[in-house]
Symmetry: C2
Subunit: 502 residues, 2 copies
């Protein structure tokens, strides 16, 4: 039998979850709730049966409805009760089973879009493989979207690759950049805190993640001096080849200014780094003064030689934003200024997984080309997206207000993205207790929050934070009433927790 020492050292180097205990407890609680549901159902049925047979009700056995778990652990709007967009689901259902689509059931623009999308599929079926980079018509439409978004900065379809989620595309691009046999190892500058799966991919490929800290006190700002420090720190450890940025931030929720992006571009150009820009939350910007501008646009609007030499990969996804179709697995990467000889290898790597899921590709088409004024589906689409948007604006406002008024909590404004990442100032006794329990302090806090208040959030240690600071991350893409309930439970739990350890 294979033993641990024999498996790939790169895989062995991937950090194991520090909060496995939390996940285990959450799934136990979910299972218990499921069983209770079943029990409730069973007692109800039994009750009716007995009522029928014996004119006897056993309704007293029906338990009180459980107040339920609030699961805001993932960046998953539908999980938390946000409704899918009608237009999106109608088009996709029509593509899967065109016979279902009566003329009186679906708006004409839905049927037209479905027909158009199916035309791009071999044999007119979503069951066929597509080209490696995705269905050509969709790739062209994504490219046109990017050009519109970026104020005319040209996008070329041959530089776009659709993938089963943006993370997958990132791993593929890293695969080209990382030399797993190199000594010293390849390095990638990554934010601290950083979306954990990205750093996992970096380590899994045999590279070293070189952390650069985001400045929490200044709203998780990316500061170029810190990039210089991080690069310096890599000396003798690894050879950095790329800089990874997440804008809007995950888990940190900041939105970069154009000026900051220009500085970053000058930095990567000077240091000869490949720029990896995770821009999957580009549709989610809430701050009054914040605006999403793509790295592609900022780069294109700078002068040569910067504009035509800095190598950039920009990632986007149908999972994020107002659509939130995580389960369909559709993302894309646009590559800028890459040498054609390298593009050839990128094609080869992408072709190793045949193609992205066809419905995920369709979702990208709908994301980048939504209904327009005048289309039959437009009014409902507008209503649904505006509702989601106003909910999110409300939620980030409430999170900021409530948490900053709670002793022992501080929260930077959430300008964009799907998460709040507040800091907790835990009492030394709580930290001591966590140590005795063999857990990180934030993990201990999350476990108790889950068990005592039924709120499932992630601990900050998962993302990497400055030594001695403690955070939690939770998804803000939930219905307003759920957010209010979450804040109520968190407030009450936290107040008690601080009292217990004061």
């Amino acid at each position: 039998m294979f033993v641990l020492q024999e498996i790939s050292p790169n895989v062995r180097n991937i950090k194991q979850l520090q909060y496995a205990v939390l996940l285990r407890r959450a799934s136990q609680i979910k299972e218990k709730l499921r069983r209770k549901e079943k029990y409730k159902l069973l007692t109800c049925l039994l009750s009716r049966f007995q009522h029928f047979c014996f004119k006897f009700t056993c309704s007293q056995k029906v338990r009180k409805p459980n107040k339920g778990l609030i699961d805001v652990c993932w960046g998953d709007p539908h999980r938390a009760g946000v409704k899918p967009l009608t237009f999106v689901r109608q088009v996709l259902a029509a593509c899967l089973y065109p016979q279902l689509v009566d003329s009186d059931k679906l708006p004409v623009d839905v049927r037209q879009r479905a027909q158009m999308l199916l035309k791009g599929c071999a044999g007119g079926s979503v069951g066929s493989y597509t080209a490696t980079a995705g269905i050509s018509e969709i790739v062209h439409r994504i490219s046109a979207f990017i050009t519109r978004r970026d104020g005319g900065a040209p996008s070329h379809p041959e530089n776009i690759y659709i993938s089963p989620g943006s993370q997958w595309a990132l791993t593929n691009i890293l695969n080209v950049l990382v030399d797993s046999e190199a000594s010293p190892k390849t390095g990638v500058l990554t934010p601290l805190p950083c979306y954990s799966i990205s750093s996992m991919s970096i380590v899994g490929l045999g590279a070293v993640a070189v952390p650069y800290g985001l400045c929490e006190e200044r709203g998780w700002e990316l500061q170029v001096e810190e990039l210089h420090r991080a690069l310096e720190s890599a000396k003798g450890v690894c050879k950095p080849v790329a800089l990874y940025v997440i804008n809007p931030g995950n888990p940190t929720g900041q939105v970069q200014s154009r000026k900051s992006m220009q500085e970053v571009i000058r930095f990567v150009s000077e240091k000869r780094l490949f720029l990896l820009a995770d821009e999957v939350y580009q549709d989610c910007v809430y701050g009054d003064k914040s605006e999403f501008v793509s790295y592609k646009r900022v780069l294109a609007e700078m002068d040569p030689p910067l504009s035509d030499t800095v190598e950039l990969a920009s990632f986007h996804s149908a999972s994020k934003g107002l659509m939130g179709e995580c389960g369909l697995r559709g993302g894309y990467v646009e590559l800028v200024n890459l040498d054609p000889s390298i593009m050839k290898y990128i094609y080869t790597l992408f072709s190793a997984d045949s193609c992205a899921p066809v419905l995920g590709q369709f979702a990208l088409d709908l994301l980048t080309n939504p209904p327009q004024p005048g289309d039959p589906s437009y009014p409902l689409y507008r209503e649904e997206t505006q509702h989601i948007r106003s909910t999110l604006v409300h939620n980030v406002k409430r999170v900021f207000e409530v948490l900053n008024s709670l002793p022992g909590f501080s929260c930077q404004p959430v300008e964009g993205g799907a998460f709040a990442f507040p800091r907790m100032h835990l009492p030394p006794k709580a930290i001591q207790k966590a140590k005795e329990m063999g857990m990180q302090p934030d993990v201990y806090y999350c476990v108790r929050l889950l068990e005592e208040a039924g709120v499932f959030v992630k601990p900050g240690c998962e993302y990497g934070v400055k030594e001695g600071t403690h955070h939690i991350r939770f998804c803000i893409m939930v219905q307003e009433d759920i957010m209010e309930e979450l804040l109520r439970r968190l407030t009450s739990f936290h107040t008690q927790f601080m009292k217990d350890f004061s």
Copy 2:
């Protein structure tokens, strides 16, 4: 700018396509056909318009309908006109857009299945992420299917991982087995010929593919002596850690006997190799005397210590078989006899891509748990699958008859899988001509077959074949009339080709 010398040597080592010229020609021809379509449509519209305005028809300008391209290059049934299964598409459409589903439109078992599947999704939406290994209920149902299939040999849900296609799962398992920094490199024994994407994954991870030849003369039989020879050949080159088998074969279409599989299992046990069994064509067996038996079953029915020590990964997929839903991207791997410490890392690696597409996961549920006698959908489901099956049995019979009667062709019986892989005995003058054109002889043949007869097949060199032999691969999962037309065109083209070079 990054230059070629700086990218990952593993990626650089991946063999570039030898038949790029063929793909280019195919897409040019497709584009031309598309334009012709548009031209035809335009002329028709113009014709009607002119008829209306000037009482003048220009129908003489409408070109004759082009006889069209037969694209049998991929293992893609829907591309070639095989119809999706109604039950599958109804359930999936209902899951995407439950409102569409009127009680009078869809059979009751379709609605029940859709409800059941949605219950496993967080928030009841296919737009939510699922657990890393897949939706728990579906994983359990796949496990129960495997136990039924294997005559009761137990399958454990915790050993099953759903992925976006089986190839992705294979790459992940290889990722654990291959030490990219090892010297000598890690080796994987792979069949010759071999499904090209698999060997691409092996090389891309920094391992060496050690080819073992399948015996064409004996119907592409896997012979254990050849495994010994291949292992011997690896000495001083690499350290083999795994054996990769494809059963039913791709591109070779053989089905392994139970006896042969027992020999393979004894071989891997003796040589301490991990067994990777690609069994995605398990539903596609056509030979009268052939039967698919899984490696899992053969292993479970052998005596200990074999049965409880040989490490096995078995792959299956919703893309293959009669369902043929390649575009949904759903596959799974079952792992047998792995050390728990290693399973932990496999979990970590799979979690790096969040989860498989939810609709691909649903497709696996429908694949492994189809309608049963008595269910409202059963009669149609049975009719559709039997039609596909009888078409395939007809096609493999016709391919065998026609090609073996054609001078310069010989074809082993296709016992299973999706492809015929006949051998061509090309005249020396044709080989010389190909050389002058800077192409492999089989690529030259395929390009001319495409250009002159409109038949798009793949050259054998893509899969690796014995030195000096030449093959083509084409998909047999097409409608009977298309197969007849394909054989007519191939016969006529081949006869002329042989004459030209005699």
